[in-house]
Amino acid sequence: MNSQKIIAHVDVNSAFLSWTAVYRLQILGETLDLRTIPAVIGGDSKTRHGIVLAKSEPAKAMGVQTGEPLYQARKKCPYLQVFPPDYSLYVQASQKLIVLLKEVAPVVEQYSIDEAWIDLSGTQRLYGPPLQAAYQIKNRIRDELGFTVNIGLSNNKILAKIAGDFAKPDLVHTLFPPEIPSKLWPLPVKKMFQVGAASEQKLHAMGIFTIGQLAHANPERLRQALHKHGEVLWRFANGYGEDTLTEQTPLNKGYSNSLTTAKDITNRQDAHHLLLSLCETAAMRMRQDEQSGSCVGVFLRSNDFRHFAQQHQLEQPSDSTIEIYRQACWIFDRLWDGATPLRQLGVSITKVTTTPIRQMRLFIQDDYDRLAKGDTAIDQIRRKFGENALFRACFLQSTTPPLSGGLSKERRTGVTKPVEQDPSLSWD
């Protein structure tokens, strides 16, 4: 590992809320800055997407948390202002950020819609010492784009990301290896990147409460308790991490899609329709990336929030909507008792490969070539005339949208206008 590398992690503060605030100030000409009042971006409670997606600092000060139901947030903060998300706006804002970062840094790796790493190695002569450079970038984003970011500086990606998380907003932090014992190790383990509630509980059971204890734990013991993830966490806690950025978006490890419905699903046909609509979008994305997957998974959430999931291997990798859909239905029928009302359905395709191979088969009637030609034609029509230009006839009388999917729809198409939504359903 080259210890001379300087990696900065750029993270937009309360991204969705900031972007909405900037839009309202700069484009709509409003005078009230949402960032200065208790406000959140939240889904529509009526369609059961009523959770906090992003919060302002004043809302945070009153205890509002990202991910909690809106009614709970309103209890903590009765005057809470709720604004709907606008994903196309966020994609635009995100693209602006990346364009700016590419102006200042030679290598930019986007991690998510509101986060990116930039490699500042060797830019001292341009911008001065790294800390100074980071401040310049942070301020430039604030002044030119109107929203604030946190920047974390270190020698590798993980440390930079952890540093960016220290205190917010509009700040620059460093976490170079010599600073690890004083800045990182005293923190509780849940502050560690990739430690969720489940890992935290397991670590606590092992007597590990701080990141320092994690760093000094026996990696073999961690592996026993948390499998491979344990070793990964140990490496992170000791400050080891990747320091090479890739401009190219890494190939997806899998494709997944889920939707929370406005009304509980209680019959098999509706469920199958929704699965088809989820598979349609996921398979389109796979074909666009020229990938095939060989493991199909289905997950369900019941109306009392129980979670069910199962996956099954296809005999060979596929990118065919119908093949994936058939497998998903087969799994769904084994997974669902036919009675429990369902509020959320999801489909995933993993074990993806780019190698376009096809094991020839006997007896199976559906001709893969025919399916593939159909998929290609459908994709072409949708690309040319829009995604709603063509849909399967079974959706004619159905309340399920012909294509269901998440944020990736906007990313995929680069749509910059607000997306038309079926009033009964919204993006999950």
Binding site: H312, M360, F363
Partner: protein
């Protein structure tokens, strides 16, 4: 119930039926082995409702009765018992006392009356199959059966009983294996028997001079082999017409005779390179049949490349076809002749592998290639 039995006899009986003990806990009693002492005979029985196995042996019966012991645990205990006389005695309805030398163990049991009764063997199909060809055939055909439950008929082996022959066929739609063995009996039928049942029978049929008695109706098949009885569900469903996919003789455009073990070794080496190309599903090798050579190649970025050249007797046109190496290897290993014949109909259409020896004259293995770059 109270019986005395030698450890070796007990172990034989328990190990015979242990594989039919259910792994699922939908019905707890199916995790048990039912031991019945009656009329001077000791019967051990287990079932997972798909397959039931029974083993009957002699024992010194002090008091008749029955007990349903927890299968896996009791099998474990039996394996570790000293080589001595063992006494098994039920204490009440839910406890078994195992006494050996000067020691004893007690094990909680299931209620014996909850154990499902075995259906009586009956059916219009009745006859015998010699053990030796049966074992060979099951080994050779079962490789092509599917593990995947998506299409249940393919997890079974098709038994076509007609005249003095049983034809066995298995396919997972990527390959198909077919063989024939002798049948002495009555009735004509096509039965799809779970592959696992036939493999269990083959495993326990150690005496090659014996015969297996088969009695079957549309729902159940009963196999008897000496003191062992197997009851199996017949898989419901329509088996596809396999004869339709067997290519007519005039369709073959390339015939080759290849040294089996050399091809096996080359495929195994190639598998080291090509394995996991599509995460466990790949293992693709390219075979080129040309002149008097068979070229074998695999290349996977980051894993390496391999090119091999094997001597072969080839007639017909030059052909290049990609295969899943595992499908070829499994066939070559069960054919175990020195020379195998590989006939092809094209680079994306079926090929057939056969042994050259007389013993394999009724066996064929059809394999479909893999198309690379669609």
């Amino acid at each position: 119930m109270k019986v005395n039995i030698q450890k070796e006899d007990l172990l034989y009986a328990v190990q015979a039926v242990e594989r039919a003990v259910s792994n699922k806990n939908t019905l707890p009693v199916l995790g048990g082995i039912l031991i019945t002492a009656k009329d001077g005979l000791l019967s051990f029985r287990a079932t997972d409702l798909e397959m039931a196995m029974e083993c009957v042996i002699n024992g010194d019966i002090v008091e008749e009765g029955e007990v349903a012991v927890p299968g896996r645990k009791f099998a474990g205990i039996t394996r570790l018992l000293p080589s001595a006389n063992i006494s098994l005695a039920s204490m009440g309805r839910e406890q078994l006392l195992v006494e050996y030398e000067r020691s004893q163990m007690s094990v909680p049991c299931f209620l014996a009356e909850e154990f499902p009764a075995l259906p009586q063997p009956e059916g219009e199909i009745h006859g015998t199959i010699p053990v030796k060809p049966f074992r060979r055939l099951v080994r050779q055909v079962s490789i092509a059966a599917a593990n995947d439950e998506v299409r249940p008929v393919f997890t079974g082996i098709l038994l076509e009983i007609s005249g003095d022959k049983i034809t066995m066929v298995a396919t997972d739609t990527h390959r198909l294996a077919k063989g024939v063995c002798a049948w002495h009996g009555q009735g004509e039928a096509s039965l799809i028997i779970p592959c696992r049942t036939l493999q269990e029978i083959a495993r326990l049929a150690v005496n090659e001079e014996e015969e297996i008695t088969l009695t079957a109706n549309r729902n159940q098949a009963y196999f008897r082999l000496g003191n062992l009885t197997f009851t199996s569900r017949v898989i419901v469903g329509q088996y596809p017409d396999y004869k339709q996919v067997l290519p007519a003789d005039n369709l073959f455009c390339c015939h080759s005779l290849i040294h089996n073990h050399r091809l096996c070794n080359a495929l195994e080496r190639a598998s080291l390179i090509s394995r996991d190309v599509t995460r466990g599903k790949g293992n693709i090798v390219r075979l080129t049949f040309e002149g008097d050579k068979l070229f074998l190649a695999a290349e996977v970025p980051d894993e390496g490349t391999i090119k091999e050249e094997l001597a072969a007797e080839i007639q017909g046109e030059t052909l290049v076809a990609n295969y899943n190496a595992r499908y070829l290897l499994e066939a070559l290993k069960v054919i175990d002749d020195e020379t195998v014949c590989f006939r092809l109909t094209g680079s994306t259409t079926p090929g057939i592998i056969e042994g050259a020896s007389d013993e394999n004259k009724d066996y064929l293995y059809l394999v479909l290639p893999v198309r690379v770059n669609r």
